[in-house]
């Protein structure tokens, strides 16, 4: 008996021991993501001292270095392979595209191509290239280089050149592939042959992700090109310390005379909004990206700081996964649309710096349908619709909130809490769930969320870049996170894509928005106006609506 108890207790201890040892081994694996959250201050401190050292060493001549503070590090520096805004912010300064957007809007300007013309049927585009341009590694820029780049993308696959496939309808051999052939006519002339007209073709080509890279460098570095970027742009890549900073220095041979004006640019990652703002106030950084809307007044209150507003070209929304019950029921989706106090959210968590959204498309984009009547904030109506849908007592759901501040949603958790509260009033019990950002996106893309907060900043200023990318059935599994599929809408969107007549396109997109409004695959929440803070002496900094800007013209007064 005695021995039995001892034995039993020992067995218990063993089991407990193993269970806990299980826990302790996981401690070795589990902490890294936590450490990131917990230690945000530490790397910054080391960075600070480094920066100070840098500054001290550079300070004596003219300190012509711009330190750009932002929320996260880049994923990669090969523009063709990336999709995140933080990468584009950097690559935009290393590479040039054939044509580019104007400083403050998305109208097309010459860049590597000095002029271009298209055939009447919209099937051929001929670009005249700029003479005497060299890549940072000394390789000549010419028609062959352009062909090399486009061939590289066209022969890729969805996992490598993600943007290429969504903008140009797939890859070589795919049925929808738009770019049939890219040909070098002579040293400085390139001809594109399209398989069908694509109205936003120039807008697409101007996207920073289609920056032309040096063919010799691509061959030399292969896989590691993303860490050794070589382009023709205003700045030359110098150094990258992951999760800390990226250093670019002036390209002395840049084709724009007298530019860039800065000697170097340092992109530093400071994940916490408040910390980043404090660094700006302390003078450690020159420009702070992603300032919390509530801190706008604080920047205005500082005499040596200025506020930049980025023209609004985005949408923040609550996606309802249309394939998951009860969200497969249109009435339920409409009911939830009635249960959101957008004005309240904007006043509270955007400091008024946003417009309530009724369409997936922001009002600045041609094709916006202003005749749509938004679903009013009406809890009674919402309850009626729920009852009609067969849920008089509501239901339980998961409400996913993004873990990181985004330009279209500075604080997803708080917005989620407001939604949770309103939903509770119509009997819908929402549990707020969050994951690490990459996991969040992946799970939502796989359709694992009931409802998820997300948003989109336009890449090229075309309606296609919002409605087709976010809501067409072609993009389920990529950017159509809500799994919304409507064949009628699909036909309209493809027609709009191929129609070169701008007015006809506008009409088609207006029609598309009516269908979307009725089906209510999302709850469109806001179109925000993101703000940035900068030192007073930073001049000619243009906060571009696409979310990333070239720093070519920036100088210190």
């Amino acid at each position: 008996m005695n021995k039995k108890t001892i034995l039993l207790s020992l067995v218990f201890v063993f089991i407990l021991g193993f269970a806990l040892v299980g826990c302790s081994t996981t401690t070795e694996e589990a902490p890294p993501p936590e450490e990131k959250a917990g230690e945000t201050n530490e790397p910054e401190e080391t960075k600070d001292t480094e920066e100070e050292q840098n500054k001290e060493s550079d300070a004596d001549p003219v300190d012509n270095t711009l330190v750009f503070g932002r929320g996260a590090d880049s994923v990669g520096l090969d523009p063709a392979t990336i999709t995140d805004g933080e990468s584009i912010k950097v690559t935009l300064n290393i590479y040039d595209t054939l044509v580019k957007y104007a400083d403050l809007d998305t109208s097309i300007e010459p860049s590597l191509a000095t002029s271009w013309e298209s055939s009447d049927d919209g099937l051929t585009y001929t670009f005249k290239l700029r003479e005497g341009v060299k890549f940072h590694d000394g390789t000549d820029f010419n028609a062959e280089a352009v062909v090399y780049n486009f061939e590289r993308w066209a022969n890729g696959d969805k996992s490598s050149f993600y943007y290429y496939s969504s903008m140009f309808g797939g890859f070589k051999g795919d049925e929808g592939h738009v770019i049939q052939e890219v040909k070098a006519i002579d040293e400085l002339t390139v001809e594109f042959t399209l398989s069908r007209p694509q109205a936003p073709f120039l807008q697409n080509v101007a996207m920073p992700v289609f920056g032309i890279a040096s063919p010799t460098a691509l061959e030399k570095y292969g896989e590691s090109f993303t860490e050794n970027p070589v382009g023709t742009g205003p700045f030359v890549f110098q150094e990258w310390k992951r999760n800390d900073k990226i250093v670019l220095v002036k390209n002395d041979n840049y084709f724009m005379d007298g530019y860039p004006k800065l000697d170097s640019v340092i992109f530093v990652s400071i994940p916490d909004n408040a910390t980043r703002l404090n660094e700006l106030i302390a003078g450690e950084i020159d420009v702070a990206d992603g300032v919390s809307p509530n801190d706008g007044s604080r920047i205005e209150g500082e005499s040596d700081l200025q506020l930049f507003t980025r023209p609004s070209m985005n949408v923040g929304y609550l996606g309802l996964t249309n394939t998951r019950p009860p969200f497969d029921n249109k009435l339920v989706r409409q009911a939830l649309n009635h249960a959101v106090d957008k004005e309240g959210i904007i006043a509270a968590f955007y400091a008024g710096q946003a417009e309530p959204a009724k369409n997936p498309l922001p009002p600045v984009i041609a094709g916006y349908n202003d005749d749509i009547e938004p679903y009013p904030y009406d809890l009674e109506k919402a309850k009626e619709l729920l009852a009609e849908a067969g849920y008089p007592d509501g239901f339980e759901m998961e409400l996913w909130a993004m873990p990181v501040p985004r330009p279209y949603m500075p604080d997803g958790q708080k917005v989620a809490e407001v939604l949770q509260n309103s939903f509770a009033q119509i009997g819908v019990e929402a549990k707020i769930v969050s994951f690490e950002w990459a996991t969040y996106l992946e799970k939502a893309r796989n359709g694992e969320a009931d409802a998820f907060l997300l948003g989109w900043t336009g890449d090229n200023g075309d309606a296609d870049n919002f409605i087709y990318v976010l809501l067409d059935k072609d993009n389920i599994g990529s950017n159509n996170y809500s799994y919304y599929s409507n064949d009628e809408l699909h036909d309209i969107l493809i027609a709009a894509q191929s129609n070169p007549d701008q007015e006809a396109r506008v009409e088609l997109y207006k029609q598309a928005q009516e269908i979307i409004h009725d089906d209510a695959p999302w709850i469109p929440l806001v179109h925000s106006t993101p703000i940035l803070g900068g030192k007073n002496n930073v001049a000619d900094f243009f906060a571009h609506p696409t979310g990333s800007q070239a720093l070519t013209k920036v100088y210190f007064e």
Partner: protein, 297 residues
């Protein structure tokens, strides 16, 4: 010697004697003014926690976005937070959560810790080696990191935070009781109990355990304070309570963006954490002075 007596009458006498011992302890506790202050603070918070639904002016999740971030006023004594919710109401409800987490997690660690500690101390040899090394392993991790890891494995929620806090405190109690058992088992009355053939289980739970209770109570009171801080820390890191639960640490995290704009949103939950922790610490110190015979003159 009384333990040896087989009849019932002396046992009530023992109980009486024990009661006298506690009375003695209470008297010496009373003399310690700081300890009494601590006790009062704790009692106030316990009162708030128990009667929270009755005394709070508003519910915990009545959002009025139009009234957000209002400074303290006669209508909202402690102001409103960024959702326009009454901070006072949320702090009072928060007391429920923090005290609940504190008490339950510490009781959990005491039960498991005592069990393991007694086994280690009483049986010695390889049982001791095994359990003690196991405690050493757990203590080798910074406790907060271990808690974070456990919550990361279990998934963030208030209940899992409570479990994590209970687990990380186990070795502290285990070691304490082990050392106490080591000294008690040398006592003559234990030898006597063994001599008359008493079973191990009875010796452990009727003689050794009651006699090692005093340090456990002291350590337990102090551990509640730590547990409340740990729960708040986990809440602050987003690993504890889920919204809209008014957990103090989460309230702090939620309002850290408004530090400049609306300092009261951070100030009052912070004060609440500080006061309860202070209360339990003062009380724990007082209890130690009262219960530890070596401190008595």
């Amino acid at each position: 010697m009384a333990e040896l007596a087989p009849n019932k009458a002396p046992e009530t006498a023992i109980r009486g004697a024990r009661f006298l011992l506690w009375l003695e302890a209470w008297k010496s506790f009373k003399k310690n003014k700081l300890a009494v202050v601590g006790l009062i603070i704790v009692l106030i918070f316990v009162f708030l926690a128990v009667f929270a639904p009755v005394i709070t002016p508003e519910g915990i999740n009545e959002q009025k976005l139009a009234e957000r971030l209002q400074p303290p006023s006669s209508e909202h004594w402690l102001g409103t937070d960024d959702f326009g919710r009454d901070i006072l109401s949320r702090i009072i409800h928060g007391a429920r959560i923090s005290l609940w987490v504190g008490f339950v997690s510490v009781i959990g660690s005491i039960v498991v810790g005592c069990f393991l500690g007694i086994l280690a101390g009483y049986y010695g040899r390889w049982v001791d080696t095994l359990i003690s090394r196991f405690f050493d392993i757990m203590l080798a991790f910074p406790s907060m990191l271990l808690a974070i890891a456990i919550v990361a494995v279990l998934g963030p929620s208030l209940r899992n935070a409570l479990i994590a806090i209970a687990i990380i405190n186990v070795p502290n109690f285990g070691r304490l009781i082990r050392s106490k058992v080591l000294s008690i088992k040398q006592e003559e009355y234990i030898t006597a109990a063994k001599a008359i053939g008493m079973r191990d289980r009875r010796i452990l739970f009727h003689h050794i355990l009651p006699n090692s209770m005093a340090p456990i109570i002291v350590q337990g009171t102090l551990a509640i304070a730590t547990a409340i801080i740990e729960a708040a820390a986990l809440g602050f890191l987003g690993l504890g309570a889920e919204p809209p639960t008014p957990e103090w640490g989460k309230m702090l995290a939620d309002s850290k963006d408004y530090l400049v704009q609306a300092p009261w949103t951070m100030f009052f939950p912070g004060i609440a954490i500080m006061l309860t922790v202070l209360g339990f610490n003062l009380m724990g110190d007082g209890l130690r002075d009262a219960l530890d015979p070596r401190m008595k003159n």
